[in-house]
């Protein structure tokens, strides 16, 4: 859920900042009004329906299990509002910022094993080298990943999961699926999540997988950290069509991630 949403925020973030474009100040009329719309070129015909066609395309997602999916979406929303987010807020309140950052870095470093495997599966040489460098630097200099010196040393974070690997080799997305607690996915990516989980258990990097099964609190901490880093809240779109909008954004974000 993190990775798609990290990119999902892209579209939500279009309201973030863009730079200055060299742009002549247009002449103001006697009222001081600069007629901004007069700079635009409009379609010569009344209505080309560019918006409507794009809107219909947004809705064009293969979702044969839409009924159950919507019920799970509703369930996730309630679980998030009533249980998960209160826990996350409590965690943010009691944990110093520096400790939160350290915890986040630590799990991110553990996750780099999966990123490396999938990057290698996709035969992305340069990227695999960068992730290997990250693992080496952060696990040693970064004290088992609590700090992230690698990013400052020019080895930035990459996200690769098995769903992306499958997509890279041309496996289609399959039907849209909403997973309980984990949120939007599709058949391919849900399968990928299972593979990623299994390979993490197999590698058992820094004994995190073993320790987690002995002590479930570690898994809970990881989940809380994950949710804490997600810039999404249910109801944020304030739209009766949130399900449709999230579904589109998930698919769009995954397409971009797979192409990258």
């Amino acid at each position: 859920m993190t990775k798609p949403f990290a990119c999902l925020s892209l579209s939500l973030c279009l309201s973030a900042t863009l730079p200055t474009l060299a742009h002549a100040n247009p002449e103001a009329d006697s009222d001081g009004f600069t007629h901004p719309l007069s700079q635009l070129q409009f379609n010569p015909f009344m209505d080309q329906q560019a918006f409507e066609r794009a809107g219909f395309e947004v809705l064009d997602v293969y979702d044969p299990w839409t009924g159950p999916n919507r019920r799970i979406y509703q369930f996730n929303q309630r679980a998030d509002e009533w249980i998960i987010m209160p826990v996350v807020r409590g965690y943010r309140y009691v944990t110093p910022d520096l400790a939160q950052q350290g915890i986040s870095n630590f799990f991110s470093n553990v996750g780099d094993i999966g990123n490396l495997l999938n990057s290698a599966f996709q035969l992305k040489g340069q990227r695999s080298m960068e992730i290997t460098a990250r693992l080496l630097i952060n696990t040693t200099l970064g004290a088992f990943g609590l700090w992230d010196p690698a990013s400052k040393m020019g080895a930035p974070k990459h996200h690769e999961d098995f769903g992306q690997t499958l997509g890279h080799y041309g496996v289609g997305a399959g039907p849209y699926v909403v997973l309980p607690f984990l949120g939007p996915s599709n058949l391919r990516d849900a399968g990928g999540t299972v593979v990623d989980f299994a390979s993490e258990q197999g590698v058992d990097f820094l004994n995190v997988a073993t320790a987690s099964s002995a002590n479930p609190a570690i898994s809970v901490l990881r989940a809380v950290d994950l949710r804490s880093g997600l810039p999404f809240e249910y109801g944020q779109t304030n739209s009766p069509f949130e399900y449709e909008k999230v579904r589109f954004l998930y698919n769009a974000a995954r397409k971009i991630q797979i192409a990258d």
Binding site: A6, L10, C13, L14, S15, A16, T17, L18, P19, T20, L21, H23, A24, N25, P26, A28, D29, D31, G32, F33, T34, H35, P36, L37, Q39, L40, Q41, F42, N43, P44, M46, D47, Q48, A50, F51, E52, A54, G55, E57, L59, T66, G67, P68, R70, R71, Q126, R127, P156, H158, Q236, N238, S239, P240, F241, E244, A252, K255, I256, A259, D260
Partner: protein
């Protein structure tokens, strides 16, 4: 002697009647392109420093204005109107913020304004727009937003209920602001308060309001009619945008979304043209309109989008209704829902007559030389038409501030703007 006094008076006259407007040399808001300013707001390097989330004592509350049974089942939790209150310690002036078209109380712009006023020492209450889904469901008695006097009436009732909900809140005065459509509504709320005297607003500030509502709606509807090369029957502008982003990230070697990335994107080969930026702004507006069209139709059981008595549940596929709603722009909403409702309820007449009742023109006697109410606007605001700024200047005189740049609501975080907003409410 008399002559001298007269010349002094004459010399003073223009400065008394004319609005303050800043020239672009003394106003260094960095974005000259109104479309980018509208989308991106103030770049953080040029913005004022604002308090962080954890420095603000705030929480969300809910008002129960309707009974659960009044709403169809899909609105399972929207029979309560949520709002956000940020409290100062002890007594302080109170500020109500009304959000713009379709906007939620916790969306970006109300949050930004909250931080500005909170930092300036106000208690702040953030309210969703009467055109937003939650307000329509939980607080609007007609669920047909757009008729400003009735929207103001709903807002007024909500504000009274909010104050009643916090009896221990010590407010030294009650003030009001709103941006975009919320600015227009703030003025209508102010005029209503003149009659009812229940809240006794001290000051009211309109930020980038529409002057003629129909002009603004038409401008926004038109933004999706721009000519964007490369769009065909096979390729929509969303396809085009996705391809641009993909190519950009490929060249970057990694995916990361932040202010710096967007800045770089807009200077790369993949940068969006003004027409494409306009298309994005227009699309955001049309998506809000689709929500209004769908919600108003459903709550009033008009049967235009959702068939009457259609059994909607949590698991119902809403895609067919979203499709129908997407086909209706604001002009269509006015024709199909707002005007028929208005004719029935208020014995209304023509479109022109209605637009005179819902636009700022209706408030001319209230606005004229009223030191209680002010307006801030931008010379390059997309929602204005020719003559609008002139009307504002003639009506509001010195109560108007005009900035040379900022697009539609893009410059609130710019220090001059934030400072002037606080200054307006200062004694």
């Amino acid at each position: 002697m008399f002559l001298r006094a007269l010349t002094v008076c004459l010399a003073l006259l223009p400065s008394l009647t004319s609005a303050s407007s800043l020239s672009s040399t003394e106003y260094a808001y960095p974005i000259a392109n109104p479309f980018i300013a509208t989308i991106a707001g103030t770049p953080s390097a040029a913005a004022i420093t604002l308090p962080a989330e954890h420095q603000i004592k705030q929480s969300d509350h809910a008002l129960r204005l309707k009974k659960r049974g009044e709403l169809p089942g899909v609105f399972y939790q929207s029979h309560q109107l949520k709002y956000r209150l940020a409290e100062q310690d002890g007594a302080a002036p109170l500020m109500f913020i009304i959000a713009g078209t379709g906007a939620h109380y916790a969306s970006g712009t109300p949050e930004l304004l909250k931080k500005i006023f909170y930092q300036g020492g106000f208690h702040v209450v953030q309210l969703s727009s009467p055109t937003s889904w939650d307000f329509m469901a939980a607080a609007s008695r007609s669920a047909t937003p757009g008729f400003s006097p009735d929207d103001a009436d709903d807002l007024y009732r909500v504000m009274q209920a909010v104050l009643a909900n916090h009896p221990s809140l010590q407010s030294s005065s009650i003030n009001l602001t709103g941006y975009s459509l919320g600015g227009l509504q703030a003025a209508f709320v102010g005029a209503l308060d003149k009659q009812r005297r229940a809240l006794n607003f001290k000051r009211i500030l309109m930020l980038n309001p529409p002057v003629n509502l129909y002009t603004s709606v038409r401008n926004l509807d038109r933004l999706v009619q721009t000519k964007v090369p490369g769009i065909s029957n096979q390729q929509t502008f969303i396809d085009d945008l996705m391809q641009r982003l993909t190519r950009f990230f490929e060249r970057q070697g990694r995916i990361e979304v932040n202010e710096a990335m967007l800045a770089e994107f807009q200077t790369s080969d993949e940068a969006l043209s003004n027409e494409q930026l306009a298309m994005l702004i227009g699309s955001a507006f049309r998506l809000s309109v689709a929500d209004i069209v769908y919600t108003s139709d459903l709550l009033n059981q008009r049967g235009l989008i959702t068939p009457k008595d259609y059994p909607l549940g949590f698991n119902s596929d809403l895609a067919p209704f979203l499709k129908r709603s997407l086909l209706c722009d604001f002009d269509c909403y006015i024709t199909q829902q707002l005007i028929p409702w208005w004719r029935k309820k208020h014995n209304g007449g023509s479109l022109l007559q209605m637009m005179n009742q819902v636009s700022l023109y209706a408030l001319e006697p209230y606005l004229k030389d009223n030191p209680q109410i002010g307006v801030m606007h931008n010379a390059d605001d997309l929602i204005l038409g020719p003559g609008d700024l002139g009307w504002l200047r003639r009506t509001m005189g010195a109560q108007m501030t005009l900035y040379p740049r900022g697009g539609h609501c893009g410059n609130f975080a710019y220090p001059t703007n934030a400072h002037n907003m606080l200054e307006f409410f200062h004694d």
